[in-house]
Symmetry: C2
Subunit: 215 residues, 2 copies
Amino acid sequence: MYDRPVSSHTSRPAVSLAQRKRQLVSDELTEAALQLLAVKGFDAVTVDEIVAAAGVSKRTFFRYFASKEDVVVQFLADMGAGMRAELAARPAGERPSAALLHAVSGPLAACADHSDHAERALRVVQLILRTPALLARFLERQAQWREELTAELAHRLGLDPDSHLYPRLAAGTALTAFDAVLHRWSGSDGAEDPAELVGRAFAVIAPALDAVPEQ
Amino acid sequence: MYDRPVSSHTSRPAVSLAQRKRQLVSDELTEAALQLLAVKGFDAVTVDEIVAAAGVSKRTFFRYFASKEDVVVQFLADMGAGMRAELAARPAGERPSAALLHAVSGPLAACADHSDHAERALRVVQLILRTPALLARFLERQAQWREELTAELAHRLGLDPDSHLYPRLAAGTALTAFDAVLHRWSGSDGAEDPAELVGRAFAVIAPALDAVPEQ
DNA sequence: CCGTCGGTGGCACTTGGTGTCAACATGAGT
DNA sequence: ACTCATGTTGACACCAAGTGCCACCGACGG
């Protein structure tokens, strides 16, 4: 997010070396973890193996990730923030279905481009979807996204999220579409285009999203 | 499900004492667990405490429940099977929105009646919704329900669940409504009527459930 | 009365995860 | 150059969840 703020009287970039080191360790850890997990499966890999491969102590691992699952799920965590921001940025008059479509499309677009990052994202998604422990944590995150989308949507429409079912229903339904697309994309080994899939999904659910809210 | 099968030449009911003992231990365990968890919160209670209160060994606990979370979530697990069965039992010609409404209403109806069981169900739901670890496991279960509902719905409509988004979208959307109702019911301390809430929720999402599937 | 079998407890063990502390690097001020 | 504050790390001890193993016991059938 921040773009190398510069301290006022030195020429060094103020992405303070310490921060770059932190990023380095984090990358090294995720790298080692993803590589091992992809090969041996989630349950067959211990944290000790991961930290051994990354060359840090177990204690350090848990300073970077809250749990063994997190090192995988974190990879997709940006999606949540991205969706909320995208929704907040949509024009106020836009129909809910269109606004939510754009909000959900953002993160999926990152999967669409066939880059290195996208290739790994596919592996990560497949790993998550077939590993119960990872799926559980992922759904937990997604529940948070749902809360955020619900709040944003309620604010957008001037509704109280506690006295109207609509915002929660709409947010949940949009995420259901997101899930369905992810599932299908993963199942087709990335062959199908997420952008096109999400379009088809929203064609189905749009009537519900744009239904007039209960009075 | 089974209704006391009787062995052919004895007068004793063949719910073999052993089975009744098993049920007894299971009940004792859930009883002790729920009581402790409700008071001290999920994280502050160890399984050692639970088994001490129930008078069995820790080893036995894990013969009955796969995890500490399970002893709570199991409580709502019947809902999943109930929904699938209910959906399968609906007449073939019924519109998806109506069939899914009935499927989802079954388990919620159990909460509606203000009995002892319902009172405890409310506590359990509230505990789950405010405890991340429990929520994660609950969502994991719900993901299984979604798979089952998806399969049942696809079968019902003669669609291939892997080449059509609709079944998964419809199942997920119905469960979203279920979640929204559960959330609201829990938030109102059981004051609001689940049956009425689920009706309102389905009024919103029905247009999507009954939309004509992609060709 | 005896053998089988399912359920149980006890115990050792692995693994995820945390608290604490001492060691060390960095960076700023003097 | 000295020093102090801050932040990161590794080592160690520790707790709780969960599993494998085995010996034991009570119920049931012959």
